[in-house]
């Protein structure tokens, strides 16, 4: 369903001026960045290293913005805030963030296929 989409490539289309190769490159870099970040965050959550969790999540924020994943941004902000106060809420926030990003990756993979 179109309404349930979590990503929006409007910005990327404008940024790349309709250059499909550039769009594909940037989306693929996002896949790599997001995958690396999620793995690192899982590792730091296991160590209860909230400071590092916050730093890695912070790096994801602009990337989510560029891919139009608006629903991820407030969760990332909560994770960043929680690193300095109550880190125990971070694992649940991360589960929500991971679900959104994984859904976005599926959507964006379809977009990459359409781009040829």
């Amino acid at each position: 369903m179109e309404d349930n989409r979590v990503s929006d490539l409007s910005f990327l289309k404008q940024f790349s001026s309709g250059n499909n190769e550039m769009m594909k490159k940037l989306i693929n870099v996002f896949f790599q960045t997001a995958q690396d970040a999620l793995l690192k965050i899982e590792g730091f959550i296991a160590e209860k290293n909230w400071e590092r969790v916050g730093s890695i999540a912070h790096q994801l924020k602009p990337q989510c913005s560029y891919m139009g994943i608006k629903s991820a941004e407030p969760i990332i902000i909560k994770i960043e805030d929680a690193k300095n106060s109550d880190g125990s809420v971070i694992p649940d926030l991360f589960i929500s963030l991971k679900a959104i990003i994984e859904k976005a990756v599926l959507e964006l993979s379809e977009e990459v296929k359409k781009l040829g």
Partner: protein, 173 residues
């Protein structure tokens, strides 16, 4: 479009952001662009004399002990006082932005979909400011030069008058 070839350092631990900004700036300006993932790397290359540095605040996602952007800003300004430093950061806390300006950053741009355009506008504004400063100096010089000539004419007129030399009858005709 800026006409002169300037050198710019992009400093961000987010490789994707560096590449996107590089793509955007390359399409708008004639610039020599170098990218670094830590501020320490940037400082190690400061002798290459960049005209501008675009600096992230949080630089520790790759190297946990990497210095933050404000520490790098202070050091860069100490080494190259005339350098223009712009912050481009996902950190939207106002106190961080205020601190960067306090320590000499030209502007602070929060990373989002409009940030590339805002950085572009900042560079255009800096270029305009530099041009205005140059024109102001040239105007000041021209004013002093003309005032000097005027003063010389007045002095000569007074001297001629004292000596009784008339412009209509200079005495050597």
């Amino acid at each position: 479009m800026a006409s002169a070839l300037k050198k710019i350092f992009l400093v961000d631990d987010d490789h994707n952001n560096n590449e996107m900004l590089k793509m955007h700036l390359s399409s708008k300006f004639k610039l020599e662009i170098l990218t670094f993932s830590t501020g320490e790397d940037c400082l190690r290359n400061i002798d290459l004399n960049p005209d501008y540095i675009i600096l992230d605040y949080n630089l520790n996602s790759v190297k946990a002990d990497a210095a933050n952007g404000i520490d790098i800003l202070k050091k860069a300004k100490e080494l190259k006082p005339n350098i223009y430093v712009l912050f481009l950061s996902g950190q939207d806390k106002i106190e961080v932005a205020v601190d960067t300006i306090k320590y000499g950053a030209y502007d602070y741009v929060v990373k989002n979909q409009s940030s590339f355009l805002r950085i572009e506008n900042c560079l255009v504004n800096i270029h305009k400011n530099i041009r205005l400063q140059y024109l102001a100096k040239a105007y000041k010089f021209a004013t002093f030069f003309l005032a000097g000539i005027l003063l010389a004419i007045i002095v000569m007129a007074i001297v001629f008058k004292i000596l009784g030399i008339s412009a209509l009858n200079p005495g050597w005709v």
